[in-house]
Amino acid sequence: MFPRELLPIVLILVGLYVVVVGLSFWWARRIKREIKEKEQEIKHRLYEIAILKEIADRTGYSLNIQKILDVIAGSLRQFIEYSAASYMLLEPSKIVFKADLDRSVSPAFIKEIRGRMLGSLEALLGRELADMQIEETLTGAIMLEDMDEPVRSFFNIPLVIGDRLVGVLTVAHTKAGLYNEEEMAILYKIVSQASHAVTSLEDVVKAEQDKITAMLESMVEGVVMTDRDYHIVAVNPAAKAIIGETATGAPTIFDLAEKFKGVFDIKEKLEESIKLDKVLTLDGAAIGGKYYQVLVSPVRSNAGPMKGQTLGGVVIFHDITHEKEAERMRNDFTSMMVHELRSPLGNIKKIGELMRSSKVLEDKQASSEYVDMLYESSSVMLDLVNDLLDVSKLEAGKFEVAKQQENLKELITDRVKFFNTTAQGASISLASFTGEGVPDLVSIDPKRVTQVINNLLSNALNYTPKGGTVTVECFMHKQGVAIDDEAGHLGMPWVNDDPQKTTAALADSVVVAVTDTGEGISPENLEKLWNKFIQFVSSVRKGGDRKGTGLGLVIVKGIVEMHGGTVGVGSKVGVGSTFYFTLPL
């Protein structure tokens, strides 16, 4: 018999069993629910990832919100049930309404959701949109007149780009009780992520645009861009300066054409460039006293939906006035050089011709004259060839100075003696001064420094009228004192060039100067003194009894600089000039 005492134990065990089983069921259900929830969550996550990826893949870095919305609307089917998924977008001149129908609905259903969406937009914007044109597109299932199920579930998500409301996204159903806030959270998230992406992209694009605008604005080259109908769509300040004042302030293609009238037909060039799809270059277009290289090029889109299409044309003006001027100088220089070499050579040849054919050789006086002319013509040529050779060596950096310890004071005395005859012949008094402390030996290339002094002295004698004075000066310069002040203290004649006292900065050196009482040089000509082209060409133009090639000063500067020194000149019209150079110790 079952002992009674055991009954409570059995009951307890049974009770425990019931509790354990019950708990197990509860646990199992809870776990099941949790799994279901997890599944749901994973599904959401996967959907979210999938749709975001799809948006990225299909739209790329698109700023086209409509395209993005198409992707979102098209994907909703995998995720939620709806009768119609639609969006409404605000555009400047119209409203775009697009609905995707999953099942057939009545026209009244569509009218209802359209009305509700418009209402939401008006409420969000705080203004009436009733008079705006609505562009409607329906996709998916067809509308059926005999359907009469109304909208029973409806959910709106506002579309915001940056801080601007651009539209609403809506899902609607004929079934009631769908779309609670919780379910819609993911949709919110997706829309907001897409909006955020577009917003950041807009910022990036704007920053890029700003950069391009800033670059265009600050370009030295003039840039004009036109669309396909040759309307000017962009023009930078440099281009405006070239085109000049226009009636409206914003230049048109006609202003441009007018400006280039007679130079080239800008519209024709743009047409040609766009048609042939090539860059046209016009060199040396003379516009308003300047020379421009003009580039005309088609503008093609290389990305986006317009890829490969011609957007218009661009005209770029590159100022080449300087290059043209330099080219002209080079050409002048070359032709003048040829001229200068041909003259004496032609003369030598003709002297030969005369001596051969006439009785010159029998006439002692005539033959001595001809020999003199031969000597003079060949000397002129040789001087020129030597000078040209020196200049080209200097320019190529192949000019060499062989420095040695040399008595500079003696060298100067010797030069003064050498030029004394010429000076006396021209009734010019030639004097020389030497300051205290000039060392006996200075490290110089005696041959080259002789050349420098020869050049300066012969120039001074050439430009000094009868009765004038040419002085050669040699003294010490100490850093910290301007050279003209040093000359002044020593009581030496000096035509000042240094009101800013810049020579004070020069290191300790020996100064050699030649001062004349000639006609002086005007400030604008002073600047051109060291330019080989200008010097040479103007010396040829001067013609007549000029001596030297005009290249002397260019060579002087080169030689002095090879010694580590500086050249300078001070001049006053009607007073005279001081040419000086320094030789650092």
Binding site: N347, K349, K350, E353, L354, G543
Partner: protein
Amino acid sequence: MAKKILIIDDDKIFSKILRDGLVAGGQGGYEVFAAFDGAQGFEIAEREKPNLIMLDLVMPDMGGIDFLKKLRAEDWGIDIPVIVETQLPDMKEISQGVELGVHGYFIKSDYSIDAILRQVGDVFK
């Protein structure tokens, strides 16, 4: 009567060669004058009324073209034949010269004395 020829050229050596060449080649038929710039040339031209002027274009102060303009502005100067000597043939100057009634050109270093003499002889034919 000897023909008067005026050479206006700042290159004294060339001027002397040309003068000697013309004197020798003309065998007493040419009387040659020389001026070394435009102003001096105009002075001599006005005084001597030469039968031919040999004119250099590149000269200091009054250049060849300026001289021509001045010469052609004078009644006595309108019809004097002018041969232009040049070292650098410059189309602009040549066409300017043609407008001012220049008779001929020669390039200084290329033409021989004989060629110049023939050109001068043609003027007097």
